[in-house]
């Protein structure tokens, strides 16, 4: 664990130490369920990098529309592709898109928010009004707009999702950083001769790390949902690359012929998003004990 995260975990549990942390982690049902779901989701994506039951793009027309069997655990689709292999490859796609998109939002949003909090004045005003502007568009709508302008594709959908993540992180960082900037140890740091940049990195960010971590898990879930939505509309990942959203789209016309083609990708999206949300919720309870007591 990096020192700043360890530090915020330490501060969160105060003097009771790691035992208390473990107890509250095990005691939080949402954290455990969410953690198991998220871990298995990531494990499946990692496994797909080295192994899938069948080659993902292997089209064997004679074996199409098969039901659940020992050979094909979840059946096959209209081209005879193995559904398990497609879902596993789709998980990789979701994870990659979500990591890059959230990373983009984090990498741009956090510095902007920290800058706004450190400088205040007109710069703060300009940044935050630009933020409000970006916030005013529904996320998926702006993603549709961006992909419509730049053309559909996996890269463009990542950028589109990343852009709607920026204001989320910028706003969260600014709000939390403003509170930290009022604390006396910031004055102590300024007295020690540190400039705003050093103070932001060394004193402000470690203190808001727990908030950011929780927000990352939630944005991760939203990014998976957004990617599925864009692919469903045909604006995201393009064939032959597998994607959960695209699988849903293709299954739509075959709903009554082969309902499992829609049910399984749909369940995959729902379970991974649910898992990440529960995980984030549980994490917040553990990292911020004050919040837990208020409930």
């Amino acid at each position: 664990m990096p020192p700043s995260i360890r530090a915020c975990v330490m501060a969160a549990v105060m003097s009771d130490g790691l035992a208390e942390l473990r107890r509250s982690a095990l005691g939080s049902r949402s954290f455990m369920i969410g953690g198991v779901l998220t871990l298995s989701f990531i494990a499946i994506a990692l496994a797909a990098l080295i192994w899938t039951p069948y080659p993902v793009d292997e089209i064997v027309v004679p074996r199409r529309f098969q039901g659940i069997s020992a050979a094909h655990w979840l059946g096959t689709d209209q081209f005879g592709r193995d559904l398990v292999s497609l879902l596993m490859a789709g998980a990789v796609n979701s994870v990659v898109v979500a990591i890059v998109a959230v990373g983009l939002g984090l990498g741009i949003g956090v510095p902007l928010g920290a800058l706004a909090a450190a400088r205040q004045g007109w710069l703060d005003e300009v940044l935050m009004r630009a933020n409000d502007f970006a916030f005013a568009f529904p996320a998926l709508l702006s993603a549709v707009m961006i992909t419509a302008l730049a053309g559909p594709g996996a890269v463009n959908s990542i950028i589109a999702i990343g852009i709607f993540n920026i204001p989320v992180f910028a706003r969260l960082t600014r709000g939390a950083a403003l509170v930290i900037w009022k604390r006396e140890f910031i004055l102590a740091a300024r007295v020690a001769g540190k400039g705003p940049l050093r103070i932001s990195i060394e004193h402000v960010l470690p203190n808001i790390a727990s908030l950011l971590i929780v927000q990352i898990t939630i944005q991760f879930a939203l990014a998976i949902l957004a990617e599925a939505g864009l692919s469903y509309l045909g604006l995201g990942t393009q064939p032959p690359q597998p994607s959960w959203g695209k699988m849903l789209n293709e299954a739509q016309t075959l709903m009554f012929l082969a309902p499992q083609l829609a049910i399984f990708p749909g369940a995959a999206i729902a379970l991974s998003v649910l898992g990440l949300n529960l995980f984030g919720d549980g994490l917040r309870d553990i990292l911020d004990p004050r919040l837990r007591r208020e409930r």
Binding site: S4, A7, C8, M10, A11, M14, S15, Q120, R183, E184, F185, L187, A188, A189, R190, V191, A192, G193, K194, G195, R198, E202, H203, P206, N207, A209
Partner: protein, 336 residues
């Protein structure tokens, strides 16, 4: 040459035309190895003076006059120069050790950061120096490893960390803003002794801000009494204590809770001494938005005469280095 010399320092806020004066013509001077006590009640401008020296006045406040540190004016110095001076030549100890330390950064790193910033030491060198500084303030690393977090220390130990942070780069001027107010009495004495020792050892100048006259008597060479943004009496501590020329200084001393048998003893037997009410100065500090033309203390002063509310009292010399700003002072230092 004086280490620090403050000349006619004014701090204002609000519109330039109708500005509130939070500090109004403060003059102070301090040489190396000397300890200056700054006393006065809440809101009189003690902390504002400290922040002005640090160049860290809150947004919207402007400082005028001169603050000369080793002959260099801090008011006209740019932010970059101030950053280089803060922590290196001027350091500060805060009132609340609970909040002056970052809760999520280990104490060793908090002390070492200043060294890396100002002296350009490597991480390893800085940590060694930090361990030395912490040892100097009584937190030796065998019992207090550098990896401890502030919440694992007591209040007094935290204040020691804050002092270690302040002294680590060997500053020439230390500003201690009520360093013992948040600590309990037994720890107060230890922390004051520690500050005294360090000031002597490093030969730095110390500005000790406090409202505890006992601390002033014990630790300072000279003192300045502030009221409503002005220095109303200043001089060698012994001299001020002996004479108490300004009516406000007398009020402050009279308001000090004491175990001495004053009027209580006069009433008779020791065991049945009635509880005395604490002496107070009537009224409160005039708000910065409507300070009177003349003496700011006029509404609370028992000696006030007509011209007190119209004429601004200037500092009058009474004896060597001792002065008070009161219109009713006789040359001998008695209030008429």
């Amino acid at each position: 040459m004086a280490l620090l010399s403050i000349e006619n320092l004014c701090v204002e806020t609000g519109d330039p035309e109708a500005a509130y004066r939070l500090l109004d013509g403060v003059n102070l001077s301090l040489s190396r190895g000397e300890c200056l006590g700054l006393v006065g009640e809440s809101g009189c401008g003690k902390s504002m003076t400290a922040l002005a020296i640090m160049g860290l006045l809150p947004r919207g406040m402007r400082a005028r006059g001169r603050i000369l540190l080793d002959g260099e004016d801090l008011i006209t110095a740019g932010e970059e120069r101030l950053c280089a001076l803060r922590g290196r030549k001027v350091a500060m100890v805060f009132q609340e050790p609970m909040t002056a330390l970052n809760p999520v950064v280990p104490i060793g790193r908090q002390v070492a950061e200043g060294l890396r910033l100002h002296l350009g030491l490597t991480r390893h060198e800085a940590e060694q120096r930090a361990a030395h500084s912490l040892g100097r303030v009584g937190l030796s690393t065998d019992r207090f490893p550098l990896s401890l977090f502030p919440h694992q220390l007591s209040g007094g130990q935290r204040q020691r960390v804050v002092i270690a942070m302040a002294l680590t780069c060997g500053p020439e001027l230390l500003v201690a803003d009520e360093p013992t107010t948040a600590l309990d009495v037994t720890v107060q004495a230890q922390i004051l002794d520690l500050i005294d020792e360090i000031v002597e050892e490093y030969g730095m100048g110390l500005i000790l801000i406090t409202h505890d006259l006992g601390i002033v008597a014990q630790s300072t060479d000279s003192m300045a009494v502030m009221y409503a943004g002005r220095v109303v009496e200043e001089g060698p501590t012994a001299e001020v204590f002996a004479q108490m020329a300004h009516p406000y200084t007398r009020g402050l001393f009279a308001a000090m809770p004491s175990h001495a048998t004053g009027s209580g003893a006069a009433t008779g037997s020791r065991t049945e001494t009635p509880r005395q009410r604490l002496v107070t100065i009537p009224g409160r500090v005039a708000d910065a938005s409507f300070r009177p033309e003349g003496c700011p203390f006029v509404s609370r002063c028992g000696f006030a005469t007509d011209h007190c509310s119209s004429e601004k009292p200037l500092m009058r010399a009474l004896a060597q280095g001792h002065g008070a700003a009161c219109l009713n002072l006789s040359p001998e230092g008695d209030v008429r």
